[in-house]
Amino acid sequence: MSPVFYILAAITLAGGLAAVVLKRLVHCALAVTAAFAGLALLYLQLDAQFVAFAQILVYIGAVAILIVFAILLTRGSDLPKEGVFSRTWFVGLVIAAAVFAVLAWTVVQSLRGVPQQTAVPAVAVRDIGNMLVGRYVLPLEIVALLLTAATIGAVIAAMHQKEGRQ
């Protein structure tokens, strides 16, 4: 592992940790953005340009903005009076650890299924595009359908509120 990896890992972990411990919600959102950026740089270090830039575009350009909007529109930006630690933090910790364990186990298991490659495969953006509309077109379409459903749902929710007002 190179020193670059350790620097990036430190940024990502510090961002993630700060997102949990900081008091103000907006600061947490900004900290989580730093973690997203660290992840994107890690992808870049692994030579996965497409994933890295998609990560920045989607997570910093859209998800972080969405979080920020949600905080500002719900008065969550006020400082909580009774501190940020919930009384049931232990349960939360157990659940988080369990989710992490399942994900880690899956990743480790999937490593065995992949044949060991000595050379780093050079994947061009073009190949990713071909795969997306070729072999993986069904998952892509399912995701597209899901997003369309979510968009329609959001529009309906907004329309309903407008009618109720009048």
Binding site: A37, F50, L57, I65, A124, V125
Partner: protein, 396 residues
Amino acid sequence: MTTTPASVTADQIFILLRDWLAGFLPAGLRTAADVVLGVIAIVAVFPALFALTTVFERKGLGRMQNRLGPNRVGPYGLFQPIADGIKALIKEDVVPLRADTVVHFLAPLTLVVAVFMEFAVLPMGRNMALVDMDAGLLFFFAMSASTELSVFMAGWSSRNKYSLLGAMRAIAQMISYEVVLVLSSISVVMIAGSLKLTKIVAEQNQYSGQFPHWYVFTPWGVAAALMYAIAATAETNRSPFDLPEGESELVAGYHTEYSGFKFALFFLGEYLAMFAISGLGVTLFLGGWSAPLQSLNVIPSWVWFFAKVMLCIFVFIWVRGTVPRLRQDQLMNFAWKFVLPFTLLDLVVTALWRFMGQGWLRWIVCTLILAAAYVLMGRFGLREERMGRRSYRYAE
């Protein structure tokens, strides 16, 4: 190629200069030196261009509004940006008492850094792209998307209602028009078959007779370029889409509480974003650094790139001097009810263009579809809604 060696030297002068400078270093350091010199060139050239553009803009606006513009500092007011720069440097840096100091400090920095990164992938001449990435276009959009958060940081940390409102407006507007920006560039990607900006320029750098194969000279290209221009104006918060800093309503929007050099950084970031987005537009639709006629290729490629960028900047200024500011609801309606559907239709037309093969038939079919859609949407889509009595949601 009919170019003579002298014109080749002029074309590649900056590359030769860079290699000559790097030649003074030991061989192991040369690659690093190349990168550093490229970065220095970008960081020096574009702020200089920004200084010139501020005079150009104020003079141009003055001309359009029948007044003189700056004319006191230096000949024709040309040294005005130097005076402004010195003023910004020696002004007191006022930070509001209740402001979030760290975020308030970081906001202009992250903005300017992200905007400078955008220039890394632009091919500014033959062999003159700092990093020739495979996913160059995606990198550009990733960087321009990360400026939104800086705007929010500035608006929120100032602890000022005007700042926060300005930031929210800016973000809502940037998100809406970013969709259009990306979608209109996708039609170029569909035809060029690559996200690599140098490849996109190379595809357009072909000539039939004297005339270049720029994408703006095709029916889908005109439509995409127009939509791109509208989205670019909104994305850079320029008039008529300058609601985030509408002086009459919001003082100065998200940078109300910034003074001195931090304000200058916001100003710089805004203009650099304009250069970057014009540069991308030139690369995507106007053939990048390629000459408008084949015989004009004797003039160095970088001259053409910067000439085209300055032409785009002139259009920005011209529009600012001509069109009044939109209202917030007009802005959103325009984005979601006209620009976005038209861009989506243009994607379909581009696919049609791609699969109809060579020949004149595709010119007629594509032009007809786009023209018909434009007329119909103008007639029915944007029809003035009947305004009832004005109702106030909160003030009754």
